[in-house]
Symmetry: D3
């Protein structure tokens, strides 16, 4: 896209889709950049369903990952810097006329900072409509169909399945190995954090899993991944269909 | 509590409970400070169940309320200032030896900023364990027993019930009136925000309800409020029982 | 106060009174929250003298107390965070139409940061009139009548007297004990800080007094406290009488 | 001074004197930089009394002057930037071994921000001893001897006298003219600000005086200025005599 | 790369190469993301010459582009946010053991902010060695061989040539058109900015060229682009050869 | 200059010249404040050539000098604080009507932060034209005439020559001694930093020279200094002649 197409897209009131990821450990078998890969793939698929009605904005390759920082290769932004980055993406594009923004984040650690951006924009830029979306959380039924481990999540069944579908070359299938899969593998503190969704206690991931994995990624298949991605794309598509132009 | 008791409590490894509220519109019938009143009441009740094992820290009377700012009397902090405030409460107390902190927030608008605090503390103060908890979201069953309106939430059945139980003198019962109670009262944009929990779109409250209320607070009773509070206290108490001392 | 009364009060051009305190050591006998207790009591009394002409804004329970941080229980904000907090209280309320603000601070450590808020608002919000007031410093004659120790001040005669009058249940009278009362109890450095009001040298309080007290609080009486509070309220009331509506 | 002398001075435990001024209107007759001129002169005189025991640090030519910003030529720093500047001067020099710092400010608008620096350093750099001093406020008797106007202060009798003594070439004596000299020249709001030292209300100077002057500078003489400066130097010298090396 | 390879690479003392770009107008014919495309291509080529001695870190897709903000599609970060982002990339990776970092920026607007990062890291992280490099500026001779226009630069001969070589599918060759090519096309102000490299005057690009282009991109060829890229890679390779491991 | 002359100068559209320096080691023979001395001298000379067309703004005595911080006496600002300072100078003066600003910096360490100010002002204050200039870099031919050492720069031939011309009393000529003068005196890392202007690697100065000097200042003469200053003044004068009033 050049400035010519940008001028046109802004004038037409398109929605800006911004893929956000993280650069953080995904266990011994998956790439550090897994979250962005998934976010960009979903955004691309969504965009292809809305020709002329959405544009794809700049990616956010690094997110809020302090909980993974003890695993080599992880890069994290402070929440303040991440929020400033997103806000400046949005306010720059808003100058050109765009008013609707949807950040699609492959990394749940970004959720809170994205919410703070939404809150602060209400006061500083009331004409902006800022939405954000997770990935896996949109596909509850498809994930359940995987019959994941009792403890599952980061780099586990669902996330690995998505990668086997979207970017199998970024999965070292020979290295897939289970992480923490049952509550009894957790110590007392980690069990509190997992058992109680609320109150919420945030722990570094090395307290939750020695290899950084929650669940058993060996159970993932590309087919399950395709189903999960389809569910995600469906939910985001439905949202965009409903979102009225200002 | 004087510095003498504080020294003792810190040495014993107590958990610090910090009530957080908001100063924001709660419709025509309830006080601006409703959220802090509920948080402080819950904290007091929890504390009474754990004599000698918890202490009550300083309250946070103003929160993150940009979505209510078009209603008179609402005061909001930016998310950055709110987070700095919480962080400085925690790091001050951590100097005295406390390591476990639980912020109990009566206002859901604070949730994201509290999460950012938890994330940033993982790197800056790894010895701190920082947890936070909402109120009403802990009491799903008790709220459902109220049979709330199709659209319900802020200043609606559940919140009003809590106040009728905890601080009836702060409810002008003669002014209780329904706000938005059904989806058809919402315009297209507001309906998107309510229908899709995710993707998440944050709107100012005047787009959701002319009087700032979601639901019909006239259906609230003190008995329902007591049940909700009991459920909340039970959930927080269970969490504290499980939380191991470092 | 609900949003209904807030709308009315803002329209009438009322003055917003904001009580500010601190959470810091007050010696072995007085509560950590002493400064807010006094500020809120004075504000309430002032407000009762101006029915319909003032409103009470949100309290600031924690202030700038780095000099007390070596005493357990003390919580401090950095001066930047404290100033941001006050500024955001004020600018939020200014959106609703209020233009006159008076912060009444029970803690002298907040004075400088309050002044910086006043200064920065002159440029950023020229329509705001921002005033602040200390407590004890307004009651010189009434304090002198107490015949305080040669060295007196924090948690000493005057402050204890106010608490005996306003909130005797927050004073452990059996624990009242003198702190530093004469210059010869100070070391060379501390003496410089006390002898020279200007140049001004700020020291941590453990350099000034082992128990955090300056003066002999046993000499305080509730009657003296009543006289001090009366003088304070009188001075603030006189100020408000003179302050013209914009 | 080169790095050689700096190394030596730091090793000997000298006190660093930092002159601070402002660039702001001083009425039609005096230079914008008046405050720094006076501060540097006082610092030089003090330094000459303590050979080998003090060093003169870098000047701060611009201060906190938002209240003068409506008068052409005034430059102001926000309080946060001013405080950061002072803090970075101090922490840079502290790396070389200095521990005692005295900022001498010719401008009262800097007082609050200097206090916030002192407060924040207590926590971040506990080995630093940070003091600051005003000028004219140290010379109450000498100023009284001038029999200044009922309303006097900025660019008035005392400040002009100092300049006539220290830097007569920076005073356009032919342009000296009275500003506001009596309370009846003030409007209601300005009178509140002047009559009540506390509560403190900060106003822009154009509300206090059309020409930016408080008092009648025509009554100033160089002799009075010499007496004021002598008193100031005496007070600062006495402070330094008492200040023990760490 | 997974966390396994990252752990190994950090232990071996590899250099981290970070490609930085911009999202900004590149005239009617080239993609907004041109600068990142070129930076990533150069980094990939350099990395292939140093197997096992360098790693490629996360990209920076958006840079400091305020001068292009009047052209649709341009996104800019403030210099402070850009610097924070780079600093947090570096300090995160430094925790894992890396000490040498080279940011390769395809966008000259990032140069100053990169330098500020280098300066601040000298104090905050003295064990880090932080280097950065431009692209086109390294290839003076190869650019001269293009015989570019009298006025040339952004989106002109050299930049277009690189893209024709590296990513021809991102160049709309049918839209290539000259921008400002001779000084007489500039107005007085723009001529000052172009004629005087120093003193340096920064202007928005719409003052320099109506279509955002400096030079005549039609003269660019893929062969020239290959020569330019080869020169760039050569210079960076030589630098890396010389850079000793700590 | 008083506020009267300032009002007049602003109305006439004068250019504001701001001298910026540093407080940093300049070897055993030259004053810490050398850079400001040179900048102020150049600014004064330039101003004398443009009577009534320029004004001299407030000096910046301390700059960005982290690379010299291991040498006693050096004071540095972080790049963010330096930039805030410059920005607030400029925006204060812009309120009075000035639109053109030229910062003349005697210290190259300030260049990057000055550029970031220029960039950020493009968005925040589009009516401001902000330029900056180095000193010695403007006088390439005159410096070459000095036939400086193979390695030369900070506190070397050219800088010393300027000081011998402008402020010989601030040069201890008996202490002038060579620093690093040939590449073979550098270790491997330092050689990389010197040999490769780009990629750019910033090192602390103690890695480059034990006494902080690059070059042999004994070869400097006042005549060479005069020639260098003349060249600098000529370049800046030419720039100002060309700079059109808005």
């Amino acid at each position: 896209m050049t400035t010519v197409e940008a001028a046109d897209a802004a004038a037409r009131g398109t929605v800006v889709l911004i893929p956000a990821g993280a650069l953080e450990q995904h266990g011994p078998a998956m790439a550090l950049g897994t979250d962005l890969v998934r976010a960009e793939a979903v955004v691309a698929e969504v965009a292809s369903s809305f020709p002329g009605r959405v544009v794809i904005g700049p990616s956010i390759p690094v997110g809020v990952s302090p909980h993974h920082l003890r695993f080599p290769g992880t890069v994290t932004l402070t929440t303040g810097t991440f929020a400033a980055l997103v806000r400046e993406y949005v306010t720059s594009l808003h100058r050109h006329g765009w008013t609707r923004f949807l950040v699609v984040t492959g990394h749940g650690g970004n959720n809170a900072a994205l919410t703070t951006v939404a809150q602060d924009l209400l006061v500083s830029h009331p004409a902006v409509q800022f939405a954000w979306s997770p990935l896996t959380a949109l596909a509850g039924d498809a994930v359940a169909a995987l019959r994941p481990s009792a403890v599952h999540g980061h780099s586990g069944e669902a996330e690995t399945a998505q990668m086997l579908h979207l970017a199998p070359h970024l999965v070292h299938t020979d290295r897939l190995e289970p992480g923490t899969t049952t509550p009894d593998q957790l110590d007392d503190l980690a069990r509190v954090a997992r058992d109680h969704a609320q109150p919420t206690l945030t722990l570094p991931y090395d307290r939750l899993s020695p290899n950084g994995v929650l669940g058993d990624p060996r159970r993932a298949t590309a087919d399950h991944g395709a189903a999960i991605v389809k569910a995600i794309v469906g939910r985001i598509t439905a949202f965009l269909e409903d979102w009225p132009a200002p």
